[in-house]
């Protein structure tokens, strides 16, 4: 039974992930006063890449890189419960907690970074360096907010945190939410902090050496990761969800905000984004933390 539920969670994540990805391309297109591609365009792209005649590989570690990334994404998904009270659709979250999820979020990209490294493309190495140096600046405000929430709800278990929120943490502690939101934009790879895979500056960064089915796998795992992160943010800050509809609604609202914020801003250079992240969101989060723990 649990296997069926896990499979269902995976399909939902895959489908909704690509749906959101298509919506993202359409909404940004509408921002740029043009008709975006059909809704399932990203899905078509990934399937087309799966159907390529052949794809270049550089040794077994290169081959395993995207696979580790994909398995990291799926594992993270399974450790995040979809709903607040009920135990169904909670995947394996009863066996893990928030720390496990926070580190799983980073396990995938690190595995992929190994593949990029063996690929030997200097642009790949440059992309990974930017990604990692941006990573720790992103994590700081997010960790402060998450720690505040964990100490507030007295447990590190995600479903418990979601259940504990009588009023949404986003409303109860707005400063924490804003701090976490800044780094969430970076985690979703949205504009002010997405210098990692910039197609022109860094020859599309880590993905520069991936062709054919590797690229397809990267696209599908990014869809799953997006959905997993959205659900996580909903559980942590927006008071979790009872049913599917509420889950989709909340995730879409969050996603909408993140894309629109992203499509309005140009790209920061890596030192700029680190400098910004270590200054503004961190101070907001620290103030939020102090206020939260004082009361």
């Amino acid at each position: 039974m649990i296997l069926l539920e896990l499979l269902l969670m995976l399909l939902v994540a895959y489908g909704v992930g690509f749906l959101y990805y298509g919506l993202y391309r359409n909404i940004t297109a509408r921002f740029q006063r043009r008709f975006g591609p059909p809704l399932w365009q990203s899905f078509f792209d990934s399937i087309k890449f799966f159907l390529k005649e052949e794809s270049t590989s550089h040794g077994w570690m290169f081959y395993l890189g995207p696979i580790i990334m994909m398995s990291g994404a799926i594992t993270t998904l399974f450790f995040i419960p979809f709903f607040k009270e009920t135990t169904n659709f909670s995947g394996l979250s009863s066996y893990g907690n928030l720390f496990v999820v926070l580190y799983l979020l980073v396990l995938g990209p690190l595995g992929n970074a190994l593949g990029v490294g063996t690929g030997g493309n200097p642009f790949g190495a440059m992309g990974v360096t930017r990604g990692l140096s941006r990573l720790f600046a992103l994590e700081l405000p997010f960790y402060i907010a998450v720690i505040a929430i964990m100490s507030l709800s007295g447990s590190a278990d995600i479903s418990e945190i979601a259940a504990h929120q009588s009023t949404m943490y986003a409303l109860a502690y707005p400063l924490l939410f804003i701090g976490a939101l800044f780094s969430f934009i970076g985690m979703m790879g949205q504009s002010p902090f997405d210098v990692v895979g910039a197609p022109v500056e860094v020859y599309s960064g880590p993905a520069s050496e991936f062709s054919g089915k590797f690229l397809a796998l990267l696209m599908s795992q990014s869809a799953i990761y997006t959905f997993a992160k959205l659900v996580l943010m909903v559980n942590l800050f927006l008071g979790g969800a009872q049913g599917f509809l509420e889950l989709l609604l909340k995730t879409f609202v969050l996603f909408l905000f993140v894309i629109s914020f992203g499509s309005l801003y140009g790209r920061f250079k890596t030192p700029q984004s680190i400098d910004f992240l270590l200054k503004v969101p961190t101070t907001i989060a620290v103030i939020g933390l102090i206020l939260a723990t004082w009361s």
């Binding site: 390529k52 052949e54 550089h58 030997g120 590190a156 680190i274």
Partner: protein, 550 residues
């Protein structure tokens, strides 16, 4: 179980040895590192005195661990510092050697004063009387006692203000000895911290703050380094920073013990791996290495396991110890401490990736690296053993919790709740290592099956130059080994430049110069001219008379 040596009293001083659980735990660490390092010894032509000295060193370590009174502990500590001095002298430069011994001797003598202070109040060196004698000490004397003890331990642990000697010594020492240094000698600092501070006084917030500062600054300094051994030295300072932090906080003992076990195993694994690479290629700088993955595949996989544990990633053991540390810190209301520790472990990913990228991935930076072959079994066997330990601790995190509980009971601290080997439970939450590992494993296999069965077949690139290079065609002369100096751009960020740029070395050089100039002044008093000396003598005589007549 206590062996009483009192009949060898030197004028009624009681010397005692004791087999406490805590002592056995650290003895296991010593045995683990000695056992694994013995495999490597036959690869290097070491002078016979190296073996004699290491035997003496290990006896002094066991003496430290099993001593039940501070005097034996001090004797072991002093002998350890001296034998380390001579073991270092085989390959270390004169300047670093001198820096080391000044720090080691000052730490040992500070410890000696502290022990004497304990003795002066309670007339006994035994551990059991330490707590009362500390209470008996006056307020000022108690602070002075703690300052001395912390100075001695911080020098040995290489806490950020006192690491001036540590990084150079680790870099220049013989590869085997560096592994031993970082894996075991720093643990002696932890042991000293436990018996002298944690057991004697209540947890101090200052200790935790210093620990966090150390780990953050050490991590950013590690990112800037080009030599592999220096990076590992800074990373072991950072990891010890975590232990110091968690020891400065209430019931952090379990996290500290678990993390010291994990740290010993992972540091041994990393150093042996790097020793293998240096043994094979003769180079130890990132800028000179690179592209060894397909020539030394087993070492690559083992280093991969090592860095996953160092980073604290879930499936492997590193996460279980980090989890205990985080839960212990979460209990206290100092949440900024926890965010500092998590921040430093997040920013550690940069030098962790640099470790594996600089050495194994990317392009070889020199033709000579093409001829590198896999290291012999004597390097690989210890690494496999250590990897096995780390993996089992990953899948069964609570394996050693019963043993840790015994130690906690022994020093009357609250124990961890324990259900079965797979589930690690802390105050705030629990996680099942078995489920995490098997979930990740099965998903990995399923994805591989799916990936292999897709229509598009993966074709192997012809050689390492077949990369998308904007239409150009790189050849032997183009410099492709990028990314080995990743992290240098952090110096451009305002806040981090402050951390990275200034270092404590100027302070120590200044101090050295001052003492030498002061000594020069004294030498003038002992100058040759007789007249000067007589004047001083007469001056002294007058002073004496004035003093006594008053």
């Amino acid at each position: 179980m206590m062996i009483n040596l009192s009949n060898y009293a030197l004028g009624h001083i009681v010397l005692a040895l004791e087999m406490s659980h805590l002592a056995n735990f650290f003895a296991v660490l010593i045995l683990l590192s000695m056992g694994t390092l013995l495999f490597l010894v036959k690869n290097y032509a070491l002078p016979k005195s190296f073996y004699a000295l290491s035997a003496l060193l290990s006896t002094s370590l066991f003496l430290i661990v099993y001593a039940a009174d501070y005097l034996l502990f001090f004797i072991g500590w002093e002998v350890m510092s001296i034998t380390t001095y001579f073991l270092l002298s085989f390959s270390v430069s004169q300047k670093t050697l001198h820096k080391y011994i000044i720090f080691a001797m000052s730490s040992a003598l500070a410890l000696f004063i502290a022990i004497l202070m304990i003795y002066s109040t309670q007339q006994s060196f035994l551990y059991s009387d330490a707590r009362e004698s500390f209470e008996l000490m006056g307020e000022f004397q108690g602070v002075f006692f703690l300052v001395l003890i912390l100075f001695a331990i911080f020098v040995k642990l290489g806490v950020i203000g006192f690491h001036y000697w540590l990084v150079d010594a680790y870099e220049e020492a013989h590869d085997i000895f560096t592994a031993f240094l970082s894996a075991v000698l720093s643990k002696m600092g932890v042991y000293a911290l436990i018996i002298l501070v944690v057991k004697v006084t209540q947890p101090m917030l200052a200790l935790a703050i210093i620990g966090v500062m150390t780990s953050i600054i050490a991590t950013f300094k590690a990112i800037q380094e080009d030599s592999v051994k220096r990076v590992l030295a800074y990373s072991s300072i950072a990891q010890l920073g975590y232990i110091v932090t968690v020891l400065g906080v209430a019931d952090g003992m379990s996290g500290a013990l678990y993390h010291s076990l994990i740290h010993t195993a992972v540091k041994l694994l990393l150093f042996i791996n790097i020793a293998g690479v240096i043994y094979m290629t003769g180079r130890d700088k990132f800028s000179q290495l690179g592209g060894l993955i397909y020539k030394m595949p087993q070492s690559f996989v083992l280093l991969l396991i090592g860095i996953i544990v160092l980073a604290g990633m879930p499936p492997l053991g590193g996460f279980s110890s980090k989890f205990l540390i985080y839960s212990a810190l979460l209990d206290t209301k100092y949440l900024l401490l926890l965010s500092g520790v998590m921040f430093s472990s997040a920013s550690a990913f940069l030098y962790i990736y640099k470790l594996i990228y600089g050495v194994y991935l990317g392009h070889p930076s020199h033709k000579k690296l093409e001829s590198a072959k896999e290291v012999s079994l004597s390097f690989l066997l210890p690494q496999y053993l250590l990897a096995f330990i780390l993996i089992t601790l990953g899948t069964f995190p609570a394996l050693i919790v019963p043993y840790i509980n015994e130690i906690l009971l022994e020093s009357s601290l609250t124990t961890l709740s324990f259900t079965h080997a797979g589930e690690l439970i802390s105050a705030f939450a629990q996680f099942n290592g078995l489920i995490v590992m098997s979930a990740f494993g099965t998903i990995f296999v399923l994805v591989v099956i799916f990936f292999v069965s897709t229509r598009s077949k993966a074709k192997e690139a012809k050689n390492r130059f077949d990369i998308a290079y904007c239409g150009e065609e790189p050849d032997e002369s183009t410099h492709l080994h990028y990314g080995y100096s990743m992290g240098k751009e952090l110096a451009r960020v305002g806040i981090l430049r402050a951390i990275i740029k200034n270092s404590s070395s100027h302070f120590y050089e200044y101090l050295g110069k001052q003492t030498l100039s002061f000594a020069e002044l004294f030498r003038k008093i002992y100058s040759g001219k007789l007249s000067v000396n007589f004047n001083i003598a007469i001056l002294f005589l007058l002073l004496l008379l004035w003093g006594s007549l008053r």
